[in-house]
Symmetry: C2
Subunit: 623 residues, 2 copies
Amino acid sequence: MSATSSTGPSAATVADIAEKAKLLSIYSMMSTTAAGSGHPTSCMSAAQLVAGVYFYAMKFDPKNANSNNDDRFVLSKGHAAPLLYSALAVAGVFPVSRVMTLRELTSELEGHPTPLIHGVDAATGSLGQGLSVGAGLAIGARMDKSDTRVYVLTGDGELAEGQVWEAAAFAAFYKLDNITVICDINRLGQSDPTMYQHDMERYRLKWESEGFATQVINGHDVPAILAALDKAKATKGKPQAILAETIKGHGFSEVADKMGWHGKPFSKEQLAAAIKELGGGPTVPPDPGKSYARTSLPKPPDFPPAPAPDYKADAKVATREAYGDALKRVGSVNKSVVAISGDVKNSTFSEVFQNAEPDHFVQGYIAEQNLVSVAVGLQARGKVPFADTFACFLSRAYDNVRMAAISRANINLCGSHCGVSIGEDGPSQMALEDIAMFRAINDSVVFYPGDAVSTERLVETMARRPGINYLRTSRPKFPILYKTDEKFPYPGFKVLTKSDSDKVTVIGAGVTLHEALKAAAQLKASGTNIRVIDLYCVKPIDGKAIAAEVAATGGKLITVEDHWPEGGLGEASITALNLVGAPPAKFKMLAVTGMPHSGKPEELVEKFGISAKHIVEAVKAIV
Amino acid sequence: MSATSSTGPSAATVADIAEKAKLLSIYSMMSTTAAGSGHPTSCMSAAQLVAGVYFYAMKFDPKNANSNNDDRFVLSKGHAAPLLYSALAVAGVFPVSRVMTLRELTSELEGHPTPLIHGVDAATGSLGQGLSVGAGLAIGARMDKSDTRVYVLTGDGELAEGQVWEAAAFAAFYKLDNITVICDINRLGQSDPTMYQHDMERYRLKWESEGFATQVINGHDVPAILAALDKAKATKGKPQAILAETIKGHGFSEVADKMGWHGKPFSKEQLAAAIKELGGGPTVPPDPGKSYARTSLPKPPDFPPAPAPDYKADAKVATREAYGDALKRVGSVNKSVVAISGDVKNSTFSEVFQNAEPDHFVQGYIAEQNLVSVAVGLQARGKVPFADTFACFLSRAYDNVRMAAISRANINLCGSHCGVSIGEDGPSQMALEDIAMFRAINDSVVFYPGDAVSTERLVETMARRPGINYLRTSRPKFPILYKTDEKFPYPGFKVLTKSDSDKVTVIGAGVTLHEALKAAAQLKASGTNIRVIDLYCVKPIDGKAIAAEVAATGGKLITVEDHWPEGGLGEASITALNLVGAPPAKFKMLAVTGMPHSGKPEELVEKFGISAKHIVEAVKAIV
């Protein structure tokens, strides 16, 4: 698709791109009118820009639109989806008639783009995430020693999102000169003009202060666009930002540069007037109804079994420590693994992986939104990303995880320092909602291992599993519970204490598993047996299997977790049991209630109701 | 506390502040050594800066440390808590001996600051949030026509957090010249040096590009600090940034400027050596054990009953529309209400409030993290903030909501466009996890009204209730269900269809409530009665009251929600029933399963399993 030359594009090239841009505008308007919804004016401001990228700058194969060998485009301003679809159609990925199925129930061309569409790497539509995705693609290309370039189109309203500036700092710091961001500065947000409107110098200064090579252009001047793209491509050592001054609704005078037209499709009459004003356009035949959705999405690459963990039976190891070793072992047989950490590698132990595979480790600094969206970009290139931070700080990236699920991304997230059991740092560092968060993500798994062996095995499982995989690790050291060759299927749990006279089933995980084991030992000494279950996999959960255990213990169940009562291990268990028609006869839920505070770990698990003592009391009350 | 003069501070003032700074370092080291944990080196880099703020620049009354009439300080780098506590002690808020109880179970002086401590407005510890809180305080002061100034201390590692730049843009756009941010640029992050280390010009350019008046100083040069604070205070029209080049662990040569000392307390031997190097320090007597916690935290101010809603019985009104009218009505009798919106006021209808109370409306632009933390700042000044955006975009601010709860903040959040029922925009705009999110927040309520009347009444309730109050509003228009004078207590629900022969209880809310009512009408026509419950309050939930309804319908329960299965209305209901020992005999949960996509609202509720048709099928299967 590239038609650069050292003397710049020919007049014929310029005319061709201007004509294509016009088509992109027309198809965007037609499709949104047909749909009765959508954002035509947001498409029209960027038509020349997108045409320049697709039909001049990008190395792009319409038959292999997600190829690692070609350039990539990320539409950060996802509501301009019709513009992207029109470009993909004009580029030959699917027929133009398909664009007219925009937003229909059975069409892959949704209101905002998803990777079910050829040429799309990540879902967008929640603003401010695209540059991070692009940075992930770019840094992945760098790791692959590929000369792939990445183009990202943002709006201007979305530049208020802080994540854009996380991504900008990241891209500049890592000298990702293979990424060009183009900002469609059309002055008008959804409900008000933007902060800076057409103060282009303000935008230029911001990007320059981040370390980008900047250019300011008229975003409807095709020669200027093509020259800027050429100059960007030739820039070494810095990522590039092209700040394009544009008009929202450009080309249709009735709406151009006017508030009140965001997200409004044109009436049939307006559409006709607009097409006329643009100089007329082709007729588009009705769509035959054939889907052009990608029939299969990338899965993590297979790899040989990782070397087995080799913990001594009497070792005491924190699951956060085991995470680092696990990554190292998996990384030794899977060179697609990339770890990215939010300035906590010495706390989450991903630094163990960094020492083993320094070229596959990325310091993400304190920027969790960027951390997760960069992981989405990495996996779009076939990497197997493991992103880590404190579990509580993953709440900073919840929208990014949400969008990763819509992206059908294969990412692995490790959140350490869960629960009150972290101790003196206090609640700002304690994750008490992360199980709820990650359960409420489509196609996620939630792993919460109780020892180093299970941690290592589950990390390897995560590296094989597509989707969003979450691992909750703990700060305190735990004894080894499992033999090296133990298997940890999902769904799954382990029964750690069992007798013919178990009076109640107690389900715990992590620190509360060990508190439950302490309680079991105490109770056994005084003549009461309890069945302790390690729920190392909180999602998915096998209600029937748990029901069998509860039935064997007189229908009595206690759940105990270092987490709020809502949405965690307890709710997951009780819901699963009720869904299979096997509610317990008696049920107690122990969880953290009331805002925690600083203190020693053992003081806190005691004060906040989840210690062995509380479990013993609960057993006595329920039995 | 202020000792400015037009000729600058006297030598005696400089000496006094230098001496106080030394004490702040010493007390920070002593308290963290006593605690066995904490971040002394992060305190030592900012000791002169904090001394300059507290003992020179700030108008501050130690007897009334949270006064709206005085200046405010926000410690954005919350892990430097010991430094703040030391400053508060030296300022006279509590004895120095109290500082030595740092991180103990029974001390209000936790590992990271909370508003349980006099002089603290918001909990910090999750980085990058403090400038937003400060901006909320500053814009609140502006609304009050108060000349209160706000000082915010950030670290440098945390400047990688995008939220800082959301807040910076916000502060500059609103010309908040009553806010000074001081950046403690000590070069060293937790696990690696920061991106820019001591490239002060890089930092200065970033802040200048945001529209701040900038100064670069040596952060240990007291005269320079005081001069910078004077100059900042005299600046009009722009917020100010003082970029202070500092040394992590300044004053103790064994650790100064060295990696590997983040978050590490000194041994007793090191402590003695450090104090000696600093020139010696006072003995601190043992703490008598008296708490200096604030005994009461601010509550939203009382206000007269709002004017009643006046919907016609046959009106069809979206709950999102009702939100706007509700805010207007409440705002008419409560002048503390401030609404802040993320560039969606025309979608969430907060623009109705803007038109009525333009001076109490703030355009937040597309920056949800800042939106929520600004609300925290506003409520610390006694405002009653209502922040709105699409419910799915509140996931962008989950860490901010989490920190707001630790702040014991009184904030109201409205998330619109919930569920698949928004239609063609597709999943990036659909909130399907927000009920789970907001349930897993300490001391939150989750309201999900099914008509305009209940929406209005619940908004008024939210304005009265302390804590985190969440309102989930819907896009489609609903009929009016309730009379104007209906009461909506919390916990609470409404039984909308009832007979002596109800075969099953069906719990819904919002769109699924109306689908359930349709199903009830269909089933009634064919001879089967069902009991439909409007669960307008999902949290808290009264398990016993729900159990009574389920018992009256043969122990059969169906829940149906426009939300994922996890953590929502269904899990809340079934968990509550099991916790009171009253699990249903038969239970079915209808929720959105599988990733949704674009389509008409009615097509999507059908395809994703939550329509009247599915409810009818579920009833037939369960009965």
